[in-house]
Symmetry: C2
Subunit: 339 residues, 2 copies
Amino acid sequence: MPNQRRAGLHDVAKLAGVSHTTVSRVLNGRQYVSEKTRSKVEKAIIQLGYRPNLHARTLVTKSSASIGVLIISDANLVGSLKILSEVSVEATKANFLTSITSFDRSSEESLKDAVFRLLDQRVAGMVVISARQEGLDELVEMTNGLPLVFCKAGPEGFPFRISLENELAAFRATHQLLSLGHRKIVHFSGPKGLIDSDDRRRGFERAMREFGLEPVQILEGDWSADSGYQLGNDLLASGKKFTAVFSGNDKMALGLIHSLNQKSLEVPNDVSIVGFDDLEESKHYRPALTTVRQDFTEFGSRAIAMLQAQIAQEEPPVFKPLDPELVIRNSCSEVRSVS
Amino acid sequence: MPNQRRAGLHDVAKLAGVSHTTVSRVLNGRQYVSEKTRSKVEKAIIQLGYRPNLHARTLVTKSSASIGVLIISDANLVGSLKILSEVSVEATKANFLTSITSFDRSSEESLKDAVFRLLDQRVAGMVVISARQEGLDELVEMTNGLPLVFCKAGPEGFPFRISLENELAAFRATHQLLSLGHRKIVHFSGPKGLIDSDDRRRGFERAMREFGLEPVQILEGDWSADSGYQLGNDLLASGKKFTAVFSGNDKMALGLIHSLNQKSLEVPNDVSIVGFDDLEESKHYRPALTTVRQDFTEFGSRAIAMLQAQIAQEEPPVFKPLDPELVIRNSCSEVRSVS
DNA sequence: GGTGGGTGCTCGGGTATTGCT
DNA sequence: TAGCAATACCCGAGCACCCAC
């Protein structure tokens, strides 16, 4: 029996011998209720297992206690999911419920449909997790002033946005290679158009430029270890000379190492590699991977804090950018020869 | 201006010059509306950008078009998140909205609070993703007949449950080692109490028993590569003799390989290893990992199909159990010596 | 008597007003 | 004047019922 009618305000009022107005006052912590009546009402609430109907409340107050999360899915689903889970946990702490929906760029439905799925719920605010910039401007228009926070990609100039210091991190990673004497450096990037890929590529290019160097080559993968392996094979087959690779993420670096090993090339003796992400397992690769890490953990709480401030119409908090950290392990050495 | 009042049924009715009932009929595709009025109403709807208020609708129909997902978080968060995303996508296809909330066993709040967060939304059904059995019986009671589907762990005898064939998969993995002549086999398990850990351990033990063997040792890790590394060190320090390890997942296997390598032990020459999961990157480990894979992809669609059937009070679909597949690569060889 | 369409109550809870103690 | 009851109406939709042709 799913739907035995649940107790309502009126039932509580009747049991407690008060008016429904008083019950409402107790529920919302209003004044003008004596201790005695309050406890009477509370007892009745517990006895009946009363729970307010959120839909009814939302209907009249016009403000639901739930936030929407829109995931615009792309290659790196797992990354988005981590953010989602953080956002959800933080939202819960802040007494918000989380409604999620995803939008697949390759599907027939329009972004508008996905956005309206959330808007129709009258969410109090929205967190958008997207790896690409495209379409985000329209999104702002569609939502028409609704509190909004973007994770990763966000429209140009939009104030509420949480992103990684990709460019700086990539710069530092590349710099590490350069400071070891490497000059012939290849970059494995992620899919073009993803903000992470593009920013990291930019950081790489800036570091090279500051040394007056040209990249040997920039190869585009899809973040997977498989693609790193494939790119490694392609690179070796091309016959281009290089002494180091800066990989856009750790997984591609793993695939690259695999492909080098198959051709009897060793890391770091023959080729030096720097990764990106510092996955939990990267230190157990062979060799342990030198990589660059960014603290992800505050992503969710920052997003929710920004959203809450907007919802409450307060001044949004200002966050310091996250400082990327270079983690030096065993996949880099000084240049020996130009193979 | 977030809340310029949005158009309601009445506004549409006024503009179209009909009553709100007629508009409601058009919206719900009821009969007894002439083509002419229908198109008039539809025009008005578009013109006003009208969107029905889901809360109002839920209030009167007592059935919301949203399902709840409760994530009871444990070690393997990423696994749960993958299921979540599938569930969410499938739910969307079926025109349901997804509300999620998580419950942390180590937190002060009770499971009841988490469940009620969802129940208060009057969700039409609930998907529970839990790695542990504990507390799931109460959950069934609390929800009082609400359509329910459990992913991974589920209460004893509960009919609606999606789980992996862990026991069988682990049996096959162990069997592979045995058929190569290994007799001194160690098992690295996940945290005790997790259904995945326990089932895999059982499969391992059954395989050993059928060969009349005792496990050399069963070591408990936490699924992480770090713990696999630690367990590897512990094992080597213990001086116990072994020729093979069946690791409860691929990541711990990676850590184990790392620890063996540090002691100049090679895989598979000195020690054979079978993993579990077949991560995308496992084929790029050194050596490429022999492991066992289960197809995860239908998890979400199965869960939603089961839930939908319950919600619609239809006969739930019956699914064949997923057949685990042994993926043979280079981390196992025949026994040579007992080190 | 089947179509087409309007009136009015309902869902569950918020709130403003009045009035009594 | 604090503490409460009683009344009444609102939110936005669904629907039973009624009344026209």
